[in-house]
């Protein structure tokens, strides 16, 4: 059977495998064919492991159906910040080129244990520092909805790969919006779990108090399933707690009795008009499902961006001190002494944005400035945490657009670091407060996807995803970019079709 992967969710993949309609090798090959057909344009993958994936798929096929685990044989792709044993992991940085991790990240190990097939490693901003994936040392990933635009970042490879159907789902990481913002710009679902829900072991650290691993998927049910696969307390990450209960399969059909607070500071003038329009329409849809939506003010979230650009670079300057050319990665040749070797290795190995953030962090933590910047930023963080906690006394969930703008053009913001940093205005406060947040495709503005962010209290993933599912079913937004494969790509085929016709970019405009 020829499989048309462009319509498949991860649940569809599982159904095709468990019903015996396709083999794991056929399914994996179908994704490899799709990658071969479109990744020249999208450039989501840094490395495709065709051989490893097909070998793992063949091993699944050798097992009787009855003996397989539920997700065995379903392919996935991984952001290149996650350590994969014996498989090159670079963080899209020259300094880690050729690095072969001696162990799997815990999230990766859990997926391997569950029998998932790893298609390859995905592009990102170097060390996850960026909002456009233009900071990769190796390539610029394109937005599948418009190849002249960025996919967002830092998990731009993950979002673009799912939007272009080059994998049914992917893992990303989110420090200030790095899952949700690219999910928004590429029109897919992206979930940042509560800090501590997923182990950070083997996630190459950027800002340890903010980093979380999470799913990028085509729909909410896939996001719930992938979260359940990777969540859990891990003795190797002392900040991990796991989830109080599995999320299970989201099934809620209405929002009756649920109160949603519209975060005034993140949903108003800071967002461009097209984004505000789609957001307002989504709010009306939610109200039609029985939700009570009211404006709420969290005055300190406006300071979130400033606090974040102290806290995250400070942590990064400390975390990235380990890249010194001694134990792994790049080492500058012919250095006269150890100090020079450190300086040359780091200056050759890191790109401009990583250097900039190391400089900001080193400055903020240096003698004489610590109280003015770092301590003050952490006090601001305390204030933001309090304001969220107060808001959750009155509301079940909080909402805003995920990104103030739709996808911007490649090169548009690279000359102005602050303009790039503002891309994460709506997502950063959620990381500072360690809350779970999801971005859902909400519609289109000028043909480009717009995301709706829903934020819940700590460890509310189960109810958050249930509510998100109801919203998703009502919005029915198309989540596969209309990207044409190169001529000679895989043949057209049959696949499990979804019901009805979802709203695409043109449909949304026609209906408005």
């Amino acid at each position: 059977m020829v499989v048309d992967v462009t319509r498949l969710t991860a649940y569809d993949c599982r159904e095709l495998l468990t019903s015996g309609q396709v083999s794991a090798v056929e399914l994996t090959q179908a994704y490899l064919d799709r990658i071969a057909a479109v990744d020249d344009q999208v450039k989501a993958y840094l490395r495709v492991d065709a051989q490893g994936a097909l070998a793992a798929a063949a091993a699944v096929d050798a097992k009787p159906l009855a003996e397989r685990a539920p997700w065995e044989g379903v392919p996935i792709a991984l952001k290149d910040i996650l350590c994969t044993k014996g498989m090159e992991t670079t963080c899209a940085s020259r300094i880690l080129k050729g690095y072969l991790p001696p162990y799997d990240a815990t999230a990766v190990a859990k997926l391997r244990e569950a029998g998932l097939i790893f298609l390859g490693k995905l592009n990102m901003d170097e060390f996850a520092m960026g909002s456009s994936t233009e900071n990769s040392a190796f390539q610029v990933t394109r937005n599948p909805w418009d190849l002249e635009r960025v996919p967002g970042g830092s998990s731009g490879g993950s979002a673009a790969c799912v939007a272009a159907a080059e994998a049914p789902w992917a893992l990303g990481t989110d420090t200030g919006g790095s899952i949700r913002q690219p999910a928004s710009l590429c029109g897919v679902v992206g979930l940042k779990p509560t800090y501590g829900a997923v182990s950070r072991y083997g996630l190459i650290a950027f800002a340890s108090s903010l980093d979380q691993i999470g799913p990028l998927t085509r729909n909410v049910r896939d996001a719930a399933a992938l979260l359940d696969l990777i969540a859990g307390r891990d003795p190797r990450d002392s900040t991990s707690l796991g989830l109080p209960e599995p999320v299970g399969v989201p099934h809620r059909e209405d929002l009756k009795g649920l109160r949603f607070g519209i975060i005034k500071e993140l949903a108003g003038e800071v967002c461009e008009p097209g984004v505000r329009g789609v957001f307002a329409q989504a709010v009306r849809t939610m109200e039609a499902l029985g939700a009570i939506c009211e404006e709420v003010s969290l005055p300190s979230v406006e300071r979130g961006l400033a606090a974040y650009y102290i806290i995250a670079p400070s942590e990064a300057s400390s975390n990235l001190a380990r890249f010194d050319g001694v134990r792994y990665g790049h080492r500058a040749a012919h250095s006269p002494d150890l100090y020079e070797m450190y300086v040359r290795t780091r200056s050759e190995g890191f790109g401009p944005e990583v250097k900039r953030r190391i400089m900001i962090g080193t400055y903020a933590l240096s003698a004489g400035y610590y109280d003015a910047y770092y301590a003050q930023a952490q006090r601001t963080r305390t204030l933001i945490i309090r304001e969220f906690a107060e808001a959750f006394g009155r509301f079940d969930f909080l909402i805003s657009p995920t990104s103030p703008t739709v996808a911007f053009k490649v090169g548009e913001r690279t000359a102005d670091p602050l303009a790039m940093y503002r891309s994460d205005l709506c997502t950063i406060p959620v990381n500072l407060a360690a809350l779970p947040g999801i971005s859902l495709p909400a519609g289109f503005s000028a043909g480009l996807p717009v995301g709706l962010q829903i934020v819940g209290p700590h460890f509310s993933e189960r109810t958050l995803l249930d509510a998100a599912y109801a919203v998703e079913q009502a919005l029915r937004v198309e989540v596969v970019a209309p990207l044409q494969g190169a001529p000679g790509g895989p043949a057209k085929p049959v696949a499990p079709g979804g019901p009805g016709t979802p709203v695409g970019p043109a449909g949304r405009e026609g209906a408005a």
């Binding site: 162990y103 707690l241 300071r303 002494d337 900039r356 400089m359 080193t362 400055y363 003050q376 006090r379």
Partner: protein
């Protein structure tokens, strides 16, 4: 604002080297970023504790039992220069 001398000093602390023109650009960029984040130092937050952890956590101790870790060979396998099971570095200073 941040002076040229401060940029050079911070670069030394961070073990980074910049060419002259990079220093000029960096001084401008850092100046703008520092100016932006300076809004925080104008806030009166005197009654607030700085966040140390955003999710309430308490220490949980595991049983202190030895478990296998990486072998020496695995631990040094990525080293740019290794000899007799150890990392080799240039002479110190």
């Amino acid at each position: 604002m941040i002076s040229r001398q401060e940029v050079e000093y911070v670069a030394r602390l961070a073990r980074l080297h910049f060419e002259e023109e990079e220093l000029t650009r960096l001084q401008q960029e850092l100046g703008k970023i520092i100016e932006y984040v300076h809004q925080l130092s104008e806030l009166d937050l005197s009654g607030l504790e700085p966040t140390s952890h955003a999710v309430p956590l308490k220490n949980v101790l595991r049983p202190d039992e030895p478990v296998p870790g990486l072998s020496q060979a695995e631990a040094i396998a990525n080293g740019p220069a290794v000899e007799e099971g150890q990392f080799v570095v240039p002479r110190i200073g």
